[in-house]
Homo-oligomer: 421 residues x 2
Amino acid sequence: MDWPPAQIWDLELSQLRSNPGGLPEGGGTAGRGIRLCRGKRDEELILPINSSLSVTLHQDQLKTTTTAAISKDFTEDRIWLNGREEDVGQPRLQACLREIRRLARKRRSAGDEDLLPLSLSYKVHVASVNNFPTAAGLASSAAGYACLAYTLAQVYGVEGDLSEVARRGSGSACRSLYGGFVEWQMGQRADGKDSVARQVAPELHWPELRVLILVVSAEKKLTGSTVGMQTSVETSPLLRFRAEALVPARMAEMARCVMERDFQAFGQLTMKDSNQFHATCLDTFPPISYLNDTSRCIIHLVHRFNAHHGQTKVAYTFDAGPNAVIFTLDDTMAEFVAAVRHSFPPESNGDKCPASRSRFLKGLPVRPALLSDELKAALGMEPTPGGIKYIIATQVGPGPQVLDDPHAHLLGPDGLPKPAA
Amino acid sequence: MDWPPAQIWDLELSQLRSNPGGLPEGGGTAGRGIRLCRGKRDEELILPINSSLSVTLHQDQLKTTTTAAISKDFTEDRIWLNGREEDVGQPRLQACLREIRRLARKRRSAGDEDLLPLSLSYKVHVASVNNFPTAAGLASSAAGYACLAYTLAQVYGVEGDLSEVARRGSGSACRSLYGGFVEWQMGQRADGKDSVARQVAPELHWPELRVLILVVSAEKKLTGSTVGMQTSVETSPLLRFRAEALVPARMAEMARCVMERDFQAFGQLTMKDSNQFHATCLDTFPPISYLNDTSRCIIHLVHRFNAHHGQTKVAYTFDAGPNAVIFTLDDTMAEFVAAVRHSFPPESNGDKCPASRSRFLKGLPVRPALLSDELKAALGMEPTPGGIKYIIATQVGPGPQVLDDPHAHLLGPDGLPKPAA
C-alpha cells in the first residue's frame, strides 16, 4: 500500500454516493490537519501515547477520492490506489474491512435489515485517488484510511462513530472524519473503545486562518512514520516524558488558542510542538530526521519574518517529512508568499516559463505583494533557487460529504477502475 | 573574539616557557574531547546544569598555541588571535585575567614572593593561534581559553587547579586542562568552587581508540553556542528533564565504558547522547539546528556501517556545528575511512589534483583499504561529492606541556606578534 501510516494531516472527507450499474457504491475525499504530537501505546489497536489535535484542510485543494462497491459477482476483495492495484492483504487494510463488516453485522442483528440489503459475504472493490504526493509526509495515509472508512460505511450502511474503523488503518485518520478543528482523545481503555475523535470547533469558526503547504520534496522518505514511531516509543526517553508531562497542558492550551482565535499563542505553540516532536525523532535510536536543510531555512525565514514584524504573524509545522505547513491569517498571506518567493525563487525551466508562476502557487488565489527593502534585509538569507517546488494555499475545511455526481466515481459499471480521462 | 564559547572539545594543552628578551613569557597548545551534554545554570560564573565528560585529543593533530608576556613597558593588555588583534575588553577574557591575577595575589600574600617577581599591575600581551578552523563548532573556545589559562598561570607563577580560570572563558575549557578522559563535575555550590575538572582515565588508558574529525564546513555558524545554550536553558522543557533525570546515569555509564574499554557501549552511548543534545537544541525556541544534510548523511552512514558488521564498530558525535567526530578502534579505521571516501568522494579540483589525496586525509596515517561489494551495497547511498571537505585522523592526547623551543614563541622580544613565517 502506498499510504504511509501515521501522519499529522487529516484529509477532508467528501463522500460520493450513488448506485451506477446496480452496484452498491460509495466514495469520498479526505484532508489534513495540524497535530499536537503522537506516539502509539498499542501497535495492534493503534492507540496513541497522548491525545492530539488537528485542523482538517479544505478538500477544494487537497483530497482523497474513494469509491467502493460490493457485488456477488466479485470473486475477491480488491483495491486500486492512484490507478494501480495494490495488495489487499495488507494488515491495516484487512483490519479496516474486518471492523466495518463487524459493525455492519452488529447493525443487522439489531434489526436494521433494510440498511444492508446485500450479503456481508460479498466481496468489495475499492478505488482511491489522491490529488497530492503520497508517502512523502503529506499525510496520505490519514486521508486514505479516513476516506476508506467513510466510504465503506456508506456501502455497508453503517452509521455513527467511525473512529475505530479509520484508526485501524492509520491512527490519525480518525481525526479526518470531522471538519474544522479535531481532537483525538487518547482514551484510557485497553480495548481502545474510548480512543476517539471529536470536533473542537467547526470549519467556519476561524475564517481568517490560512494554510500554506510548502512542498520541499515529493520524493518518498527514508523512514516510514510507523516504523519511526515504534522505534521512538521504544528508545526515546524524551518522547515518554513529553507524552506524559508536557502534552496534556499543551492540548488544553491549544484548544484555548483555537476557541479564542488567539493567533499569537496558536502560532507559537504550533511551532514549539512541531520542534519538540522532531526533537523526539532525533532522540530516537537510530535517530530519525524528517527535516532537511530546506526545512531549516524555512524555519529560519519564519522566525526572521516574525521578528521583523515584532509579533507571531506566521507559524510552521512539519510532519514526517521535509514539507512545511504554514499557518497565517488572510491579511498576512500575500506578504509571506512574497517572502517565500524571494528566498526560494522558483526555478525557471526554459520552455515552460510562461506557466511557471501558476505552477509555483496552487490552490487559493494569493494577490501579488511587494516586499519592503527593510523586510528583505531582515530576512538576510541567500536565495535558494528551487528549494521549494511549489506552494499550495488552502484553509480549514469541512468534514466528509457525499459526492452525487456519478461521473466522479472511480469504478465503472463492471466494478473495475474507469480508465483515466 | 573569534573563539566561540561552549564546545564539546578540549584542546590538548602544551605549554611553552622561556624568557626571550627578558620578558616573563608562557605559551601552550590545547585540544578537544567528547562531551556528555552541557547547559549552564549560571551565565556569569559559567556553571553547567549537568556534569560532562570529554576526551582530550592529541596535540600532534589539533592544537592551540599561546604565548603570553608581561612587562612594565606594556601600556595596555592586548591580545592577538590567529595574527589579528582582538578586543581585549571582551568580558570573558577580562574574567580570565581578573581571576588569574586574583590567584597570583593570593599566592603572593601567602609568601611565595619569589614566584612572582613582577608587579601585578604590569600589562599582559597574549598571542594565540589555532591550527584548525575557529568558530565553526570545532571547539576553538575551549582550546583557546584552556590554553590561555595555562599560559597565564605560567607567566604569573600560579600553580594548582586552573578550572576556575579556564571556566570563566569557556565552560568546557576546564576539561582541556587535563589529558585523557576528563570529567567536569557540575558541583553544587552557588559560587562554583566545586565545579571542577578531574581526570577519569589517563591518555594511554585506551591505546586502540581512534578519532576521525569529518570536516563538513569551516564556515562560521549562525548561532554561537553560548547564545544557543542560554536560550535552550530558558525555553526547552526537554533540556531540563535531560539534565536532571537522564544525564547522571549516563555519566556513570560513560565512565564505566571508558574504564572497561567497552567500545560497543561507549559508542552507542556517545551517539545517543549526541542525538539527545541536538534534540534539546531543536526543542529550544526559536529552534537551533547545528546538523545539516551532510551531518545526517554521516549519521546514516555510521548506522549502515555498524548494521553491516552486526555490531557498533564506529560512533559519531556532533558539537555545536555540522562537523562529525567519529570514534572507532584502530582495526576499523582504514575500512571506515574508505567508506567515507566512497560516500563522500573528495572533489577533484583540477590543477591541485596530485595533492588531493593527502589534503583529504590529514593527521595520523591511515592505510588504504578496499570496500567489499557487500559493504558498498549495505551503505546504499548515492555518493555526495565534496560533502566532506577533509578528515583529520587523531587519538587521545596528553594534557598541557611546556614547549621549550623559543622559536615556537608567538611574541617577539618587543612583545609584539612575530611576523608569520
